[in-house]
């Protein structure tokens, strides 16, 4: 569906977490680590609270990719976060496959509260992946 | 690879240095110094070498002689490390290094040795006078010959070898290869600097200091000439007599001002006086004054009755000629000029 789109850069929705990964994304700005402005962030309390339907909604409505900036082991709500977020991702990817979407349009990585550089690296490489004509 | 010697700064302290260790190497002193340039950036480098105790580097350097001590580096030093005074002390230390007899070092480091030296010479002169029954004519006669002899002796036995030593340390040893022609062509600088101290004009403080110094040097050299070669004390020539009066007056008037400043300490350069500085200015003052008075007494025809004055004059003269000139601060006049000369040679050779 992105094929007919004329805009230059793929649109990515990032789910960040209020206490851990969102500060890292803020810091990326602070450090002027540039990344494409077509990356939009919506903070949630914890990455394991993201409902698959939100992800699907975003992808269906026009986002080229969704990136979950998960808490990883730093999650203030408990160790199980990573595992639970992982489950959400695989469940959603399953649903994406069923809908004929490339499951690689959903990505997840743990972004610690100071992982500004890894965040920028992730969204840049994700952008690159999504810009490939085959996608 | 140079090895650090922390004891060296203690040695330098005996030559009058103090607080140089406080230096935090900001380079302010070098930057404010108007005589410092890209080829010779000082005094910080010398401060640094002194702190580290790199004696070889200091001996090979002419920088201490290139400084004419305006005091700006010391007044503006953020650490009050007194680089100006350090440079002064290095000149004393270098004098001691150049001097093959070792007397310089002894006199600089020990006030006792200096005083003893002065006393011994004074007693020797008195003994000599005694042996002559204080006959004025003989004394005048021998006094005159003493001057000539002393000049010849000091110049050939002490000063010349020391200058050669200095040359070896600062020119030859660091590897400067200069042809004879260079030595010849640069001679002009030697003479100019020796007689004019031109370089001091580059200092940032007032030029009056240079002027005073300049006329003092001229007065001193011409009085030397007048007494030794024109035989001032025995001449009948009105011209020479008046010239001598004038020259000796210049000396004691200017040195009086120098002494006054050292007492009042109103300028940075006169704040810190080493004993060798006192000896230098006071003896120069006494020489000028006594010479003046001796001639005056001759002219008034009262010297015969006042032999003590002549004896005093002779004592001061002997002390000056045998202690201050070969080993004391007087040598700076020579080394400075030669430093400029060697510096020109080094520049020309590179």
């Amino acid at each position: 569906m992105a094929l007919g789109n004329v805009t230059s850069s793929p649109k990515i929705l990032v789910f960040s977490t209020e206490k851990i990964s969102d500060p890292a994304i803020d810091m990326a700005g602070l450090l002027k680590l540039h990344y494409p402005p077509t990356v939009y962030t919506l903070p949630v309390p914890c990455s394991s609270a993201i409902k698959p339907r939100w992800i699907l909604h975003a992808l269906e409505q026009g986002f080229d990719g969704v990136f979950i900036a998960a808490d990883g082991t730093d999650c203030p709500y408990g160790e199980s976060c990573t595992e639970k977020t992982g489950a959400i991702v695989s469940m959603t990817q399953q649903m994406m496959k069923e809908k004929g979407m490339d499951p690689a349009r959903l990505k997840m990585a743990a972004i610690c509260s100071v992982c500004s550089e890894p965040f920028v690296r992730h969204v840049k490489s994700f952008t690159e992946y999504l810009s490939k004509p085959s996608n | 690879m140079a090895r650090i010697n922390p004891e060296f700064s203690d040695e330098l302290k005996k030559y009058g240095a103090f607080d140089a260790n406080a230096c935090y190497n900001c380079g302010n002193c070098t930057a404010v110094c108007t005589l410092s340039d890209e080829d010779n950036s000082f005094p910080r480098k010398m401060v640094r070498y002194s702190v580290l105790g790199l004696e070889g580097e200091i001996q090979a350097s002419l920088d201490p002689w290139l400084c004419y001590y305006c005091g700006e580096c010391s007044t503006t030093c953020p650490r009050e490390a007194n680089p100006g005074e350090l440079m002064m002390s290095l000149r004393r230390w270098l004098t001691a290094q150049y001097d093959w007899t070792g007397f310089s070092g002894l006199l600089y480091k020990s006030l006792g040795a200096s005083v003893t030296g002065f006393l011994v010479l004074a007693l020797a002169v008195i003994a000599f006078g005694f042996s002559m029954d204080f006959r004025m004519a003989d004394l005048l006669h021998y006094g005159h010959y003493f001057e000539m002899g002393a000049i010849a002796l000091v110049a050939s036995v002490i000063l010349l070898p020391n200058i050669i030593h200095m040359w070896y340390q600062t020119v030859r040893k660091p590897g400067t290869e200069a042809g004879l022609k260079t030595y010849f062509t640069c001679l002009r600088d030697l003479l100019v600097h020796m007689f004019t101290q031109k370089r001091a004009l580059g200092c940032d403080d007032n030029q009056f200091r240079w002027f005073e110094h300049f006329i003092l040097v001229l007065g001193y050299l011409s009085l030397l000439f007048t007494t030794v070669f024109l035989d001032w004390f025995s001449t009948q020539s009105m011209f020479i007599i008046v010239l001598g009066y004038f020259e000796s007056a210049v000396i004691f008037v200017v040195t009086f001002d120098f002494v006054r400043r050292r007492i009042q300490k109103d300028h940075e350069i006169s704040k810190h006086s080493h004993s060798s500085d006192w000896f230098f200015v006071v003896w120069l003052f006494l020489m000028g004054l006594f010479s003046f008075l001796v001639r005056l007494f001759i002219d008034l025809n009262v010297l015969q009755q006042n032999m003590w004055l002549f004896m005093l004059q002779l004592i001061v003269l002997v002390q000056w000629a045998l202690l201050i000139v070969p080993f004391g601060k007087w040598t700076h006049f020579l080394y400075r000029s030669f430093a400029m000369y060697f510096q020109e040679i080094k520049l020309a050779a590179n």
Partner: protein
């Protein structure tokens, strides 16, 4: 009550905070949040101290205003805090534990602050133009003026020294808040504790004539550069005050008036290295083509994130030269020649720059000690307020019940000032509690 004292307004507070900068503000706010009644006395027309004047702050590059203004407005609105601006503490007498008697003198502002809407109409009509102290003399301001747009209170004031009393402002004022009949107000404050947060003064570079500040117009102080970079800046961009040229080769001279016994200040000011590095980074953003050179002795990048910030400036291309600038001379075109020893090369050099910023140091703001009458507020050898128990209770002074916050006790950066303000309020709290138990 004695007759002559009846003129004075009598006020009672739990704590008197002297100085409305960031440290004093932090103390006042903490105390007020715990329910204590606080009187904040500020000499200037606005609270926020020096910080509110700054551009951005290191090492996070947050804008100073973004941090100061909300704090300032929280202070201004707090129901437990009373603010007196344009007021000075004249006398403090300690009558006993928890009993301080303080004389405060408030100069007339000639404006009723409560009625002023900050519309600036008075400013428009005022015919007078004098040097603007809030822009460190780089531009003028009117005699009827609002200090600057984010001042608190954002209200006009009349500079009576320079006013021609033409009355134009009064006629223009829509709320009729200008009132030339105002007179000095004297207050007698009964306070149970005192926090001294009187901040610092900047070194005056006129004391180093060989730098030529004042004579050479393109040499400015770091505070003037700070203003040029701030959102409430005097020019529309960075300009040389000598001729209005956009500078493209700017030099910073560190340790101007710090670590320098020859000007009587042997200590390090702790912030100059970092604020200069910060300004250099900001200048590289504002003037992308400009070269920035910082002449330093030692870079004191010691705090959290500071060394990384220093490395970042190096990566951005800021040039760092180790060597103290010895003297500065001016060329015909207004450019400046800096003479220094390049320590790494051991050689004296000269460099030309078209603008020079003197990174001036922090000096004590000395008056406060004289205000204490019957007990002595001890000062340290550098004339900052002496911390009597520096290790265990850094906010304590020689007088029980008087606490010190921020740079009044020595140079420090903003995070340290804020922590110190927090410490002062903590100590004040326990002191006040000792009074009630």
């Amino acid at each position: 009550m004695i007759m002559e004292e009846t003129k004075k307004k009598i006020l009672e507070y739990d704590a008197l905070v002297v100085g409305g900068g960031i440290a004093g503000g932090e103390s006042a706010l903490n105390l007020a949040n715990l329910g204590y009644q606080v009187l904040l006395v500020e000499k200037d027309l606005t609270i926020g101290g020096k910080m509110i004047m700054l551009s951005k702050v290191f090492p996070t590059l947050d804008c100073a205003a973004c941090i100061t203004t909300p704090k300032v407005s929280e202070i201004a609105r707090h129901k437990n805090i009373t603010i007196l601006t344009g007021a000075e503490v004249k006398k403090i007498n300690k009558l006993g534990e928890h009993r301080f008697e303080v004389d405060v003198l408030q100069k007339p502002r000639y404006v009723h602050v409560a009625d002023c809407t900050g519309c600036q109409l008075c400013e428009d009509v005022c015919p007078v133009s004098v040097s603007d102290q809030y822009q460190y003399g780089m531009v003028g301001r009117k005699a009827a003026y609002i200090p600057f747009s984010i001042a608190s209170p954002r209200a006009a004031a009349i500079d009576i020294e320079n006013c021609t009393l033409c009355g134009a402002c009064e006629r223009a004022c829509p709320t009729k808040c200008i009132d030339f009949t105002q007179t000095e107000e004297e207050y007698l404050v009964k306070a149970r504790s005192v926090v001294v947060a009187t901040g610092f003064n900047l070194f005056d570079p006129l004391k180093i004539p060989r730098y030529g500040y004042g004579r050479f117009k393109n040499i400015i102080t770091s505070m003037q550069m700070e203003r040029q970079l701030a959102p409430t800046r005097p020019f529309n961009t960075i300009l040389r005050p000598g001729d209005g040229k956009l500078p493209d080769n700017i030099a910073y001279v560190l340790c101007t008036g710090s670590r320098d016994k020859s000007v009587g200040n042997p200590i390090c000011s702790q912030v100059c290295c970092m604020y200069s590095i910060k300004q250099a980074q900001l200048l590289m953003g504002a003037l992308p083509m400009a070269d920035i050179t910082i002449y330093y002795l030692h870079i004191r990048a010691f705090g959290k994130g500071f060394n990384e910030f220093y490395a970042q400036a190096q990566d951005m291309g800021v040039e760092f030269i180790k060597g103290k600038v010895g003297k500065i001379s001016e060329k015909e075109n207004g450019n400046l020649i800096l003479r220094y020893e390049d320590i790494e090369a051991g050689v004296v050099k000269e460099a030309e720059h078209d603008m020079v910023v003197l990174s001036v140091g922090i000096l004590p703001n000395q008056g406060i000690a004289d205000v204490f009458e019957n007990e002595k507020l001890e000062l340290d050898p550098f004339n900052f307020v002496q911390q009597s128990d520096m290790l265990a209770s850094p906010a304590k002074t020689s007088i029980d019940g008087v606490f010190v916050a921020g740079t009044a006790s020595g140079p420090m950066d903003i995070p340290d000032s804020i922590l110190s303000g927090g410490a002062a309020s903590a100590e004040t709290t326990s002191y006040l509690r000792r009074g009630t138990l």
